[in-house]
């Protein structure tokens, strides 16, 4: 058994940012374990631009954004292993990984940052009936085939779900000469960013059909078409509206799921809403010394926010290794009235009143609402918003005084008021 101070699982944007921040906070004994053959994670296949507007104030492609952080990690000589898949994390912080080079290795860590990202929800999870042959891909798999491997999954495409990867792939497939016939979205609103709807669909005249879904996939060996139908307000398809769209490919962009199998092994308590860990404002999970950040914690829209969140995790992990006295008491942030969740879920009742960002998502599209945070019934924060949507994460920046008020409260509540929520 090897001993390391900090083991970071995942060398994507979350793991890289956590490593950099941990190093800068004084922790030099760091090991990043990455299962792919390169650092960078999913950014490597995101060759479109639009990354880094917040972090670097410029528009980068995914690989460029990743490289900035890879450079930072390499500059600090932080050790990383590639093609090294972690197969277990115990609650005592023993990390087991496998690689062709090292065989099966166990490491006793003082602290662990879980930065494993997320996966796509597959066809099976959404119960689409029909054929079982080729031509049905999740959007991210298609993205890898096109952008990394250089192969086209098909030439006449229907996309189910308007998640960001689906929108990006609509444009990408069009660039490559495919005809994207429609993007079909079950909900009356998109789960993707508005800028992607404009830049990836509208600019290319690709129809976006809200309140529609795919009810059947036709074909035998290969997809020959999909039957789509409008859904009612209970999301049940109205079969009288069914229509066949001939196509050879169906891409699914129907949601991302934080990948928490290792967290479960480590007995980390998970949220039913996000599917990720429940963390405090140090990004520490219910297991002391185990931290979580990035898309394994909750699915982000922008990598910039992943980096910022992960830097907190890395810094706090470093501090934990040095001398960490876990706050005995925590106040749980309650979310209600249209707010689905908030990360962090808890605030430590300590005297660290550093400015803090709270990230949250709403449960539906609401107009002219005020997002409020109260401490024991007293309003600490309020921001009027013309419109909020589930597809755009709300980022609330709290100053020291506000953090102090919340940390000293018995009850903290985030809710939407006014407008649609009246």
């Amino acid at each position: 058994m090897l001993n390391r101070n900090l083991v970071i699982i995942g060398g994507g944007p979350a793991g890289l940012a956590a490593a950099k921040a941990a190093y800068d906070a004084g922790e030099k004994d760091i090991l990043i374990l990455e299962r792919e053959n390169e650092l960078g994670g999913i950014l490597n296949q995101c060759i479109h631009n639009g990354f880094g507007l917040h972090t670097f104030k410029e528009e980068l492609t995914g690989p460029e954004y990743a490289q900035r952080y890879i450079d930072e990690v390499q500059k600090r000589n932080i050790e990383y292993k590639l093609a090294a898949t972690v197969v277990d994390v115990s609650k005592d912080k023993v990390v087991t990984y496998v690689s062709a080079h090292d065989g099966l290795t166990q490491i006793q860590a003082k602290a662990i940052v879980l930065a494993c990202g997320c996966r796509e929800r597959p066809r099976g999870a959404i119960n689409i009936a029909g054929m079982r042959g080729a031509g049905v891909y999740s959007a991210g798999t298609a993205q890898k085939l096109v952008n990394i491997d250089g192969y086209m999954p098909g030439k006449e495409v229907v996309i189910l779900g308007s998640g960001d990867i689906g929108l990006i792939m609509a444009r990408r497939m069009t660039f490559e000469g495919a005809k994207v016939k429609a993007v079909v979205e079950l909900m009356p609103y998109s789960s993707g960013l508005n800028r992607n709807i404009v830049q990836c669909l509208k600019d290319f005249d690709i129809p976006l059909m809200f309140s529609h879904t795919v009810v059947e996939i036709k074909g035998r060996e290969r997809v020959t078409g999909v039957v789509i139908a409008e859904v009612d307000d209970k999301l049940v398809p109205k079969m009288e509206t069914a229509q066949l769209i001939p196509c050879d490919t169906l891409l699914l962009s129907v949601g991302l799921l934080p990948e928490n199998e290792l967290s479960k092994n480590a007995t980390v308590e998970l949220s039913n809403v996000t599917g990720g860990a429940i963390v405090d404002d140090n990004m520490m999970t219910s297991v002391e010394g185990v931290f979580s950040c990035g898309n394994i914690l909750h699915v982000h829209d922008l990598v910039d926010f992943v980096s910022a969140e992960s830097e907190i995790a890395g810094k706090c992990a470093a501090e934990y290794i040095k001398e960490y006295h876990a706050a005995k008491e925590k106040v749980t942030i309650k979310t209600q009235n249209g707010v689905r969740y908030c990360v962090p879920h808890q605030l430590n009742k300590d005297t660290n009143y550093q400015p803090l960002n709270l990230k949250m998502r709403v449960s539906n599209v609401f107009k002219k609402v005020e997002l409020t945070i109260t401490a024991d019934g007293v309003k600490v924060y309020g921001k009027k918003r013309p419109v909020v949507a589930p597809g755009e994460m709300e980022n609330v920046a709290l100053n020291s005084e506000q953090v102090k008020q919340l940390k000293n409260a018995k009850e903290v509540v985030i809710s939407l008021c006014g407008g649609d929520k009246q």
Partner: protein, 475 residues
């Protein structure tokens, strides 16, 4: 040497091929698909039935009970997943208790050992998550689980190394009895001569029979839809949980699989198209609601995939096994449930009949054992380290959900009757069978198949034919 042709490489065709390989004969299997186990065998409940359900004095009853007893030895010899987990037929209504008693009596008449009737409390002690509405149940301790395609592949591989030829993508279009031998014609124009023909063509066995026999058969494809749940709900049950049977089949069951998932199914719907394995959404919803009666806490959130299979239901309702009205033409037809359980017994029986009729001598070089692909996920850390030391490809995890390594995938392609497509790799290694349903491993598995078979990526298919994974290069 005498020539034997077997039509079909599902569980019966492959099992018969292996049992016949114990004798000196020139054995060829003709398969219309591009792999073994691509028909009825690949999509069913994977249950080793104890035999209480079959009508006494039928072939189903006989072969079921005989077959059931063979699984310990067979799974050891051929190295496929099998577990005797026991089954329960649940009764939810005092008024239907009679049905349980009748099943018990049928079981006794069929010679099924270790049957008992439990009251509701005893059932919940065995299975704490079953509905509290359960008033009693028939407990069959000899019920078991098997991975049907892995069993099929194991049989076929063992037959292959013992000299049986397997020819794929050959759909039989004509069977003719000539003066001295049979002549079997395939859709590619090839003709094969044989002294004996064994019809194991699954849902097509009636078509094959009717090409040569006067006594006609009629098989209806009876579709069964299934729902497969994530391993996280594997705690739901340990026994196979049946509801009381109906005339369409054994009813909806909730069962663990040999790999720790939970399987819910099947529906039963008679259809016309023998190639239609599409899933039907109304059927799936209905199925799920029925399963909730057994285990109320099942949730759709943990579904990872659905699939559908066809039962080969012959009008007579029983298996059709043995020499037909044409001498030398043997039928193994109408093999619906409990066909998987029965296949080992049917195979031994048919092999003996054929060997006797053709006066075949024993094959002294027959090897009865076969070693499967080591499954990294199920090994201890010490065993894993040993594998990686011997071959570093076992240190490269390709399918993260099921923890399948490149070593296993390469083995699945290189071994006898190795995989040639994505589904073939999946059935042999479980790559792509987990909760992400091949989202991550698809491109990597394609690359490995292309590398190992010397094919271009654009030639890699999901399941043969025109099921190409990609259509060409990007611009």
């Amino acid at each position: 040497m005498k020539k034997v042709l077997i039509i079909g490489s599902g569980i019966t065709g492959s099992a018969i091929a292996r049992e016949l390989a114990r004798y000196q004969a020139d054995i060829t299997v003709l398969e219309r698909g591009n792999d073994v186990s691509v028909g009825t065998t690949k999509a069913n409940s994977g249950i080793v039935h104890s035999g209480f359900d079959a009508t006494p004095n039928t072939l189903k009853a006989k072969y079921n009970v005989e077959g059931n007893k063979m699984f310990e030895q067979l799974s050891r010899e051929l190295d496929f997943p099998f577990r005797r987990n026991g089954s329960l037929v649940l009764c939810f209504d005092e008024a239907e208790k009679d049905g349980i008693t009748k099943l018990y009596e049928k079981g006794v008449a069929n010679g099924v050992p270790q049957l008992e009737i439990l009251d509701g409390k005893q059932v919940r002690e065995l299975e704490p998550h079953v509905s509290d509405k359960v008033v009693c149940a028939l407990h069959a301790k000899t019920g078991g689980l098997v991975s049907p395609y892995e069993m099929n592949i194991a049989y076929a591989e063992n037959a292959c190394v013992n000299g049986v030829k397997f020819l794929f993508e050959r759909k039989v279009t004509k069977v003719a009895k000539k003066a001295k031998a049979f002549e079997v014609t395939c859709d590619n124009g090839e003709k094969y001569k044989a002294d004996v023909v064994i019809n194991c063509a699954g849902v097509y066995a009636d078509d094959i029979n009717n090409m040569v026999c006067d006594k006609k058969l009629h098989i209806v494809p009876r579709k069964g839809d299934y729902v497969l749940m994530d391993k996280t709900c594997g705690y739901i049950c340990d026994h196979t949980l049946f509801q009381q049977p109906t005339k369409m089949g054994k009813g909806v069951l909730v069962t663990p699989t040999t790999h720790g998932n939970i399987l819910v199914g099947p529906t039963a719907l008679d259809i016309k198209d023998k190639d239609d394995v599409d899933t039907y959404s109304e059927q799936l919803n209905e199925l799920f609601n029925k399963a909730l009666k057994t285990v109320p806490e099942l949730t759709k959130r943990t579904i990872i995939t659905q699939f559908s299979g066809l039962r080969a239901h012959e009008d007579g309702g029983d298996f059709v096994v043995g020499e037909s009205d044409v001498k030398g033409f043997y039928n193994v037809a109408g093999i619906e449930s409990p066909g998987l359980t029965s296949a080992p017994a049917i195979a031994v029986d048919i092999a003996k009949q054929v060997a006797k009729a053709l006066q075949l001598a024993a094959n002294d070089s027959f090897v009865a054992t076969r070693k499967g692909i080591p499954h990294f996920a199920t090994l201890s850390n010490t065993e894993r380290q040993k594998l990686i030391d011997a071959n570093p490809l076992y240190g490269k995890i390709v399918c993260r959900c099921e923890m399948v390594t490149e070593g296993e995938i390469v083995d699945s392609i290189r071994r006898p009757l190795g995989a040639t497509d994505m589904d073939g790799v999946k059935r042999r290694t479980r790559a792509g069978m987990g909760r992400c349903q091949a989202g991550f491993c698809t491109p990597r598995v394609m690359e490995i198949i292309a590398r190992e078979t010397g094919k271009d990526m654009t030639e890699i298919t999901k399941c043969g034919g025109k099921s190409n994974m990609v259509i060409g290069r990007t611009k």
